[in-house]
């Protein structure tokens, strides 16, 4: 969809404005077969990505901050996530509870997510309510009240979330142990939700300092996708954000984790009848040239019902009830995670040996071209369906902008899938799926198992 001439629009919007509110046009490019993505910036450093699409009368307005759990100071793990919760508390203009009330009153939904590298605030609105969404987001970016009593109540909610997702959940507990064992120095080893003891000792002063330094235009990217007019949107953004001070520069990236040279193991005793294996291989970040090849390899082995691991370990050998693998996009080196839910009587060491044999075979024996084509098609399908909604498109563009430095990286990924051949696929996999680069958490039935 072609919008107004972007340079002329930026010039028109900038005329007579203070420097912090000036609009600069960055770039325009295709976002898939039908859409155009434009990048803009205000004078105070706020970046804006626009993805207009009139197909449905909805819009997703998202704020992506370049701060995540990896930036939590030592002893204050969970700070970025805790603060994400606090952004839903009150401001002078919208006191506690008002944010949800006014958004729901127009049929909008809002949520947020904290990752290792980023934090995102996601509001999906009927198109006519976009000005309200902009007003609310700008308001909480600059005028959060941080009432002490409300903060304490929200701390309890965060601890409840942690009990739900980790303390009483075997997969959450195993995952936490996996990352802690795999990353001894780099903060990816600390949980996004934070250690409970750290969450308890996050002080008001920590929160205020975080708000001042990290929640600011210089560290924020607005992503707007859906049914809106670009000029009206940019004018509203200018009005709402243009007077804000820039803020501190984005936080520096932590030093990388030293290379892993030996397999690491940990055991979790849990009251379950069915043992489990949680594995993680050190894998390159989302920007790495091997990323598409790894995604294809992982899909062929673990990704669907026809995947080799599922066929062999689940169907033929009946070792597992569940197999799921996950290559998340990280800014720096992360993990390829694999979860095996084993049948009650299966010895985890036996299952691990079967997995090793499968991997060895996959690394030694060439894949048929048809098999690689199969994985390509399924990954393309997954990409397309994830981009069906305005929220999905905004989320992908925002995440890719911050993690990969390219808001259209999804489509670069799609193009690179076509470039991967059998040889590059196996050589990329061989660099990652080595025992020396993996961490294994074994969940063994403990007290309370029948």
């Amino acid at each position: 969809m072609a919008g107004p001439d972007p340079r002329a629009l930026a010039a028109r919007l900038t005329r007579g404005r203070p420097s912090s509110a000036r609009v600069a046009f960055g770039s325009e490019r295709a976002f898939g077969p039908c859409l155009r993505l434009r990048t803009w910036a205000l004078g105070n450093g706020l970046r804006v990505l626009t993805l207009p699409d009139r197909a449905a009368p909805v819009v997703s307005f998202q704020t992506w901050l370049g701060v995540g759990a990896k930036h939590d100071p030592p002893g204050r793990s969970g700070l970025a996530h805790f603060f994400e919760h606090l952004m839903f508390l009150g401001t002078e203009r919208y006191p506690a509870g008002a944010l949800d009330e006014v958004l729901e009153a127009v049929g909008a939904d809002n949520n947020a997510m904290t990752g290792c590298d980023t934090t995102a605030y996601v509001t999906s609105l009927p198109a006519s309510a976009l000005p309200l969404g902009i007003d609310l987001e700008a308001d909480r970016l600059s005028a959060l009240t941080l009432d002490a009593a409300e903060v304490e109540r929200e701390r309890e909610v965060v601890l409840s979330e942690r009990r739900d997702a980790v303390e009483d959940d075997v997969a959450g507990k195993a995952s936490e142990l996996l990352w802690r064992t795999a990353f001894r120095r780099h903060p990816y080893g600390r949980p996004i939700l934070g250690w409970a003891r750290d969450v308890r000792r996050i002080a008001m002063s920590d929160l205020r300092a975080f708000y001042a330094a990290r929640v600011a235009p210089s560290n924020a990217t607005l992503v707007v996708a859906g049914d809106f007019a670009e000029d009206a949107l940019l004018r509203a953004v200018q009005e709402a954000y243009g007077s804000m001070a820039s803020g501190e520069p984005p936080p520096p990236a932590p030093a990388p984790e030293p290379p892993q040279r030996r397999e690491r193991r940990a055991v979790l005793s849990w009251p379950t009848d069915a043992p489990k294996l949680q594995l993680g291989w050190r894998a390159p970040g989302a920007n790495h040239p091997d990323h598409a090849a790894l995604a294809l390899f992982a899909f062929l082995l673990f990704g669907g019902r026809s995947a080799r691991a599922r066929q062999r370990l689940l169907r033929d050998e009946e070792l597992c009830t569940e197999i799921s693998g996950f290559l998340a996009p990280f800014q720096s080196e992360g993990l390829y995670e694999l979860w095996l839910g084993l049948r009650p009587s299966v010895d985890p060491d036996h299952a691990l040996a079967a997995l090793d044999a499968l991997l060895e075979d996959a690394l030694q024996t060439p894949f048929e071209p048809e098999e690689i084509d199969k994985a390509r098609r399924r990954l393309r399908l997954a990409l397309f369906t994830s981009l069906e909604t305005a929220e999905g498109r905004a989320e992908r563009a925002g995440s890719d902008a911050l993690v990969c430095g390219d808001p259209a990286a999804a489509w670069a990924f799609e193009a690179s899938l076509a470039q991967v051949d059998e040889r590059s696929l196996r050589s990329a996999a061989a660099r990652v799926f080595r025992p020396s680069q993996r961490t294994v958490v074994t969940v063994r039935p403990g007290r309370g198992a029948s």
């Binding site: 197909a55 127009v106 303390e167 009946e318």
Partner: protein, 435 residues
């Protein structure tokens, strides 16, 4: 964006949602017989039958089926509800005809091999054991069992260890014959298709499906025992409690259903609703707190869920009951009701955002699960109508309460809640007793 509906030969209703933005086609098929049609004592039979559809027809085993689906760049979900067997596939548009033909083969003539049945039973048994690690799923399963007792609505759609043992190959063949027919069945497509292209896909899908009416079983009315009853599902050492409260609510053809839905949205259906605000925002007791109003052919449950810490469970449950009683007596608060109505009307745009979502909504309209003229009907719900609906349908004196957690903390704390007439404790590791 366009929508079409027509009836095909054999009585199948066809739906098409056209959208050209992405080269992706969704295909959906719904046969109107679900787990309520399980033979007596053989709970899980229809689900096993549906599961074995993708184990292949004669001459094509499971591995070949999965390989064929994957090579088409497709994904397929086969599921079951109490009232239907459902297949939903998504495929790259260029492969849609081949995918429809493959699905048609799977549906029409499954082999139901004895070895596949035996393996599927072993899989399901292992999954049932695995599911006991999930406190939320465990609590949900127990709440239905406890609320409905011996009524078929209380039975898990997948059956139990005991009921699955009794299912034979002959049962699967008989279940397939009852469930798979053209009459009363819904078929739908969404994506870059015109009617002729959609009809060609439906022809392939339904090619081997017999032209017969699928008969739904008669299900007796649901009921609930009088009084407040508590079941503790014992999980030693748990730090927090999966707490569920349920009472009978509404059914699909209930004239009060829409007003009750609006009232329930105001009560516990959104973040700003009274229940969620009180339990999460004001008290900080639980990350999640909210209500769900279900509707079936017979009266279903209104459920209230939260996950408080063990030491907060009694206070949290007591407050939830207070709020429920106040709501049942006085109806929704005016401000909450206004917001619930505008929320339901405004957020409908998201249910219609993509062709796949519009198709889903159109299929729900056909079954009566989604109401036609929804926005206008919601706009017309008055406070008096919402209050009357709540008063007529919600009875907080009759509550089934389930708490998954450590009995040593929960029995004394929750057993002392007002009006609790009975307390039973069951072991989380033990399977449900029903057959």
């Amino acid at each position: 964006m366009s929508q079409r509906r027509w009836t095909r030969v054999g009585g199948t209703v066809a739906l098409l949602e056209r959208e050209d933005a992405l080269p992706v086609v969704d295909l959906a098929l719904r046969f109107p017989l679900g787990s309520l049609g399980d033979p007596e004592g053989k709970g899980g039979c229809l689900r096993l039958m549906a599961r074995l559809l993708r184990r292949g027809p004669r001459g094509m085993d499971e591995a070949a089926v999965e390989e064929a689906i994957a090579r088409l760049g497709a994904r397929l979900a086969v599921g079951i509800t109490r009232e239907s067997v459902e297949l939903h596939g998504t495929v790259l548009a260029e492969q849609a005809p081949a995918f429809a033909a493959l699905l048609g083969r799977l549906i029409a003539a499954p082999a139901f091999r004895a070895r596949d049945l035996a393996r599927a039973k072993r899989e399901v048994r292992a999954e049932l054991a695995d599911a006991r690690d999930d406190d939320g799923a465990l609590a949900a399963r127990h709440l239905r069992d406890f609320a409905f007792g011996a009524h078929p609505y209380g039975a898990p759609t997948g059956g139990t260890q005991a009921s699955l043992r009794r299912v034979t190959r002959a049962d699967l063949i008989e279940a397939h014959a009852r469930a798979v027919g053209t009459g009363g069945t819904l078929v739908g497509a969404a994506g870059p298709l015109d009617r002729a292209q959609a009809d060609a896909l439906f022809d392939a899908l339904l090619d081997g499906v017999p032209r017969r009416q699928v008969r739904r079983p008669r299900v007796r009315a649901t009921g609930q025992p009088r009084g407040r009853r508590l079941r503790i599902v014992h999980r030693p050492g748990r730090q927090q409690v999966q707490l569920g409260l349920a009472t009978l609510g509404t059914q699909r053809r209930d004239p009060h259903r829409l007003a009750l839905l609006v009232a329930e949205t105001a009560f516990g259906g959104t973040f700003a609703s009274e229940l969620t605000h009180e339990v999460r925002s004001v008290r900080g007791w639980s990350y999640y707190a909210g209500s769900t109003l279900r509707a079936g052919a017979r009266r279903e449950l209104l459920e209230i869920w939260s996950h408080p810490a063990a030491h907060d469970a009694a206070a949290c449950a007591a407050r939830e009951i207070e709020l429920l009683e106040r709501w049942a007596q006085h109806g929704p608060r005016p401000g909450d009701l206004r917001r619930a109505k505008t929320y339901l009307i405004g957020s409908r745009a998201f249910d219609e955002e993509t062709a796949a979502r519009r198709l889903e909504l159109a299929m729900l309209r056909e079954t009566g699960d989604a109401l036609p003229g929804f926005r206008t009907a919601v706009r017309r719900v008055s406070r008096a109508a919402a209050t009357e609906a709540v008063r007529r349908r919600i009875q907080p004196r009759d509550l089934a309460m389930v708490a998954v957690g450590d009995r040593r903390q929960l029995v004394p704390a929750l057993g002392a809640l007002p009006g609790v007439a009975s307390v039973e404790v069951v072991d989380a590791r033990k399977p449900l007793r029903r057959s």
